[in-house]
Symmetry: C3
Subunit: 266 residues, 3 copies
């Protein structure tokens, strides 16, 4: 039997909004340690990994490991029916073919049960090895979202270049070129407004803006985002989920065989 009670139910609503456009169907894996998901996007280019640790739940009962296949769009429709202050409980019977989402209003005057059929989804769990990254950028998540949105109006790809002084986002399109430079800045009033560069080696990598923009749907989950870059590895775009875990997005850099199309000359 599975029963997971999350007082801050809005977190789960935000998680679904963050991933439902990228992934159609996925298995949620539940074990004693937490509630997690790993899935490729529908075009098999980007990878999403979600972790909500058991300690983050008010009540967490998971008698044995189960994997529940869900259509994320349908799940999102149901979670949208939860109020932002509602407590959400996820329930499932062992061997059952449904999952129930229960929503309790703060006053307990409104109780909703939404029951959804589970799906059988083939999936292989990829082992993602821990890695050293050449550069790690931590910055305000809203600023990263704004930059992806702005550059998307000019071009299709973004070159992210990190030096000690800062991080540069560049694109090129039919109407011209754009370069946005953020300076390292750690002396701000609010720590979540800092831009912090941890650089072992300078790095300059090209990515499809479409995916980067899609990752920024997770912005409401965290005030900061961490971007980990290495020339031989997929970039990791990570949003922490307060006290509970994270969403990580992985995306391979574009090979720059065709300079004109894939990379601004900056």
């Amino acid at each position: 039997m599975l029963e997971l009670r999350l007082v801050q139910g809005s977190l789960l609503k935000k998680v679904l909004e963050a991933i439902k456009d990228l992934v159609n169907d996925a298995n949620f894996d539940c074990s004693a340690t937490g509630f997690s998901l790993q899935a490729m996007d529908s075009s098999h280019v980007a990878l999403v990994a979600l972790l909500l640790r058991s300690e983050g739940f008010e009540h967490y009962r998971c008698d044995r490991n189960i994997s529940m296949g869900m259509n994320l769009n349908n799940m999102s429709k149901m979670l949208k029916c939860a109020g932002n202050d509602d407590i959400i409980t996820i329930k499932a019977d062992d061997g059952g073919d449904t999952v129930t989402f229960m929503f309790e209003s703060p006053t307990q005057d409104k109780i909703s049960d939404f029951e959804m059929k589970l799906m059988d989804i083939d999936s292989e769990h990829l082992g993602i090895p821990e890695a050293e990254y050449q550069s790690i950028v931590r910055m305000p998540s809203a600023e990263f979202a704004r930059i992806c949105k702005d550059l998307s109006s000019i071009g299709d790809t973004v070159v992210i270049s990190v030096t000690k002084e800062g991080v540069k986002f560049s694109t090129r399109g039919d109407i011209g070129t754009a370069n946005i430079v953020l300076r390292q800045n750690t002396s701000v009033d609010k720590p979540e407004e800092a831009t912090i560069i941890e650089m072992n080696e300078p790095v300059s990598l090209t990515f499809a803006l479409r995916y980067m923009s899609s990752f920024t749907k997770a912005t409401p989950l965290s005030s900061t985002v961490t971007i980990s870059l290495s020339s031989e590895l997929p970039v990791v775009v990570e949003y922490k989920i307060a006290e509970m875990g994270h969403i990580r997005f992985y995306l391979a850099p574009k090979i720059e065989e065709d300079e004109d199309e894939s990379k601004p000359q900056v």
Copy 2:
């Protein structure tokens, strides 16, 4: 001659927004006692009844009973041109074929006249007998609107079931089932947040969600809604209009010949 001056002109704007999607053309009936409308929706399934009593107007002159046929969409276009704080006066000459809406800004610096052609509309006035209802639910109108919206994302019909403890709204669709239970709750800080059940007999009736959702367009008119239910009668969904009258929507329950399609098994 007809001249009705309504200081809180925004009420009339809200009335039109509440009914214009349900009803295309309708006769407004004006008599010494008030300004009223009764009309079937365009698919002849639901009935709308509006009453604005003469006492609610600052000035009310209606020399003889008249019935004015109006296209509600056009009337709405004109009323949208009134400011939210404007005083609205409705004017018509006996035997004339136009109606004039005059809008006065609070400072009297802006005066607008909108003149609209009247239409000849055949309509029969249905007598609606007073009735005893098995159950009457009074609840916050925004909560009722939210429930109709949420259930509409899952299914096409709603079962409303009333017991002493509360009222349950249920639906079923391709992606699953949903049950929302509101507890009777009279001890709230603000009376308009109460959910009050007046039950003579328990009742459980099925309705088309499309119509219920359409009725909730009247939500801005009142903070509470009253739902009166009996197994042999159309449901009445009533929104009071402060000190002046009401909008009532009537809708027959669905006959549950086909359990699978028309009723969630809850």
Copy 3:
């Protein structure tokens, strides 16, 4: 070399939003006295004239007069990437074929460069003679925008009639007629809320509402608008740009050969 630094960069963003729907491509003319533009709308009916005087810029360097042809839609896409509090600098080399827009965030932690290709645009500069107008109306710009929007829901043309007492805006369409009268009103708390009529001669002129509505896209630039009317001249709809200049829109009145179509009988 050209280098124009505008501390209140949002002004330039608003200027582009005001004219980009009316004009596709245009030459920006830069001289020692200021940065200006004059262009016909794409259907060659209305004329736009923009002036930003050099004194309004924090830094203004323009070594020799140049005319830079730009696609306003592309320019707008780039300016939308500037933050509302950003400082915008426009840069171009003499004889170059690009212009660069640089955006600096108030904290200087984010610096963006957007480079756009220039275009060759044939244009003749019309001399617009100073003229005496029969009537000049100054009114709140938001009120003028609201009136144009409201009348557009009823008809296609607007008759603007000025008398000493006030200004009347009228239209007529399939669903009826509308007249909106604003009284002269100079004794208001805030000067920008005044409606001031300067009348040498009463005047009544008809204009296409589509253009008038389009001009009101400049509303965010100024809290007031000035409308100058004469029976033999194009109307001038002017929005002042704080301390720096103005946008003026010119539109010829409609000839009222066909009373029924072009003019409400009011």
